[in-house]
Symmetry: C2
DNA sequence: TTGTACGCGTTATCAA
DNA sequence: TTGATAACGCGTACAA
């Protein structure tokens, strides 16, 4: 077992000083060609690689991005990660992941754990519990310590940081308008409680689309699902809730669901009642995941371009990180944060006419 | 903006030495209660936290696990990650992720990047390209450098490391036996090329099940899908290939597919021919993901307990990491590696009778 | 009870 | 052309 070799070992072996070795390996022409070659040959033989940790300590940057997301078994989030990783890697960064599991405490702990030197900056999407409790001190503290954050999808307006969001409002408006122009008269929405920002915005888009088309919104056609139901483990409860909703509203002829799961579950319920999709009821979901592609009928859906979100978020963060280096030389400038909006796209399949 | 505070700063501020501060914070009773309180109060005020990087350098361990997987937008892998993260976090470890994207080169680069001090050990699943090229030098080199590896799912027998695998053979046998006992006479298998170990094993299980039930295997009922088709981007090609296969074998009355995607795609094809599932054809898949749960009819499937695999892999790795500390004191012992087999489970839904 | 010195692995600066 | 030294942040053995 040949352990990792260090500069010191090479130096001892070749009977030169550590700094000579260091310079020789970095092709400094301070060093004579003779020793340079000797050192490089030896280093190659023993497969020398500089120790990242030591470099991090020295350079005061880790070239690592911390990602905090609520859940990883989730098509949307894993696609975002893929996007982040793609850009990060191509620019020499690694990616370290913390899962909040939708819990405020885990979010805080994870962030603290990573913020103590392990990473250069965060890319994150806020947990539901945090959104509910409205306690954002950990974000502000991190930012105040000089560690940049980029938030995506589930963001908080008031926090001073870069953001990448989907045009939730416009996207859901497009979807509902599609249903309207397809002849739906009684369009229901299955959404989340309002504290989930994306749910709130998508609901708002739904309402605006109705209004602009002179359709009066009917409160009973709005179903706001509770968090607890919003997981794979409570599939049946979710189905029951939607079914109850259905029984109360037999006249529904169009459904807009703010995520894939709600949409396919709604389709399941619809089938129970022997109604045909899209003939009797048309359905549109949000997020273009595996379910939409493989459901039967294929689900018309608002695509969020998750991977693109990740890529953009990574670009924003890395740009800021590399900018900071210069900034320190020029002194403080006015911080200027951007909010990038990723356009949605309506992908038409067979659940609409 | 108050930057992270260090021992040195506290020391300067309080006009004591760095080591006094260090000791005071670690509740050493070498230090007088007076200074101890003073230091701790100050540290709390400025929210002092030791720098992880410095600790890593000092202790020569990072308390970080490196994960290398072929793909993250994949129910199975993300569930494994969740399992790893769960255990890792509970034992004070972080998790850093590298994606190979099924590419040999990216796998090697990612591993080299992380192996240079960033992590204490690897948990990984081998990329298809690596399996195809049969070039495993990077694994052996990593292990030789004293960095432990735990492989899961896609593993190589010959490599000296801990492994966590699914009882692929037994699992697929169970599935095929189910089809047989349900009355299927012409059971097809849709599988991968043989160099993917899990595909090979599952094919083998299929063959054994047939043999033990005195059914002679029919080569034309075995479809081995090429890698290139095995992605979301080539859904149509995959569908075509399966359809061709179908046309040639009109007598099929049972299908065993070695993953979810193949299974639901096969079901899609079956429907085209107006055959009823499970009346005319019964289908069983492998991996219990979202698709199985939500497909129509619900897909009977062999569950791999992905999260459990992740948990087990993390336990194995961490145990070895913490063991190594002791081992260094006692000198070299004979290495002893385990292969943990996670039992599969047949989850019956509506695609079988 | 407190402080000094050293080492983890690296690089940069300055001296020889 | 080479080497000694300091610094990144921390913990600890040893000295005062």
């Amino acid at each position: 077992m040949k352990r990792k070799v260090t500069l010191k070992q090479i130096a001892r072996e070749l009977d030169v000083s550590i700094s000579t070795v260091s310079k020789a390996l970095r092709h400094s022409k301070e060093i004579s060609e003779d020793t340079r070659e000797k050192v490089q040959a030896f280093a190659k033989l023993y497969n020398y690689r500089p120790n990242n940790i030591a470099l991090s300590l020295k350079n005061r940057k880790t070239k690592t991005i911390g990602i905090i997301i609520p859940e990883i078994v989730h098509h949307f989030f894993s696609k975002v990660i893929r996007g982040i990783e793609l850009i990060a890697n191509s620019r020499g960064y690694n990616v370290i992941i913390g899962l909040s599991n939708e819990s405020f405490t885990k979010e805080v702990i994870n962030m603290e754990m990573l913020a103590n030197g392990s990473i250069d900056g965060f890319i994150l999407s806020i947990s539901k519990e945090t959104l509910l409790q409205q306690d954002f001190h950990h974000f502000n503290e991190t930012i105040n310590q000089g560690m940049p954050i980029v938030m995506f999808d589930r963001v908080i307006e008031e926090i001073n940081c870069d953001k990448v969001i989907v045009d939730d409002l416009k996207g859901s408006k497009k979807a509902v308008e599609k249903l309207i122009s397809n002849g739906c008269k009684n369009i229901a929405i299955i959404t989340t409680k309002d504290y989930v920002s994306v749910g709130r915005l998508r609901t708002q888009g739904y309402l605006e689309a109705l209004q602009e088309n002179k359709i009066s919104a009917n409160k009973s056609l709005i179903l706001k699902i509770d968090v607890e139901l919003d997981s794979e483990d409570h599939l049946e409860d979710l189905e029951n809730e939607i079914e109850q909703f259905f029984k109360k509203n037999k006249n529904i002829d169009g459904i807009f669901a703010v995520n894939e799961l709600y949409a396919v579950t709604a389709m399941k319920v619809v089938r129970k009642y022997d109604l045909k999709i899209p003939d009797n009821i048309q359905v549109i979901g949000f997020t273009d995941g595996v379910l939409s592609k493989h459901s039967r009928p294929g689900l018309t859906t608002v695509s969020q371009h998750a991977q693109e979100m990740g890529e953009k978020a990574a670009e924003l963060l890395i740009e800021r990180l590399e900018l900071e280096v210069e900034k320190e030389e020029y002194g403080e400038e006015e911080e200027h944060y951007q909010t990038v909006v990723i356009e949605t796209e309506l992908i038409e399949r067979d659940s609409t006419k």
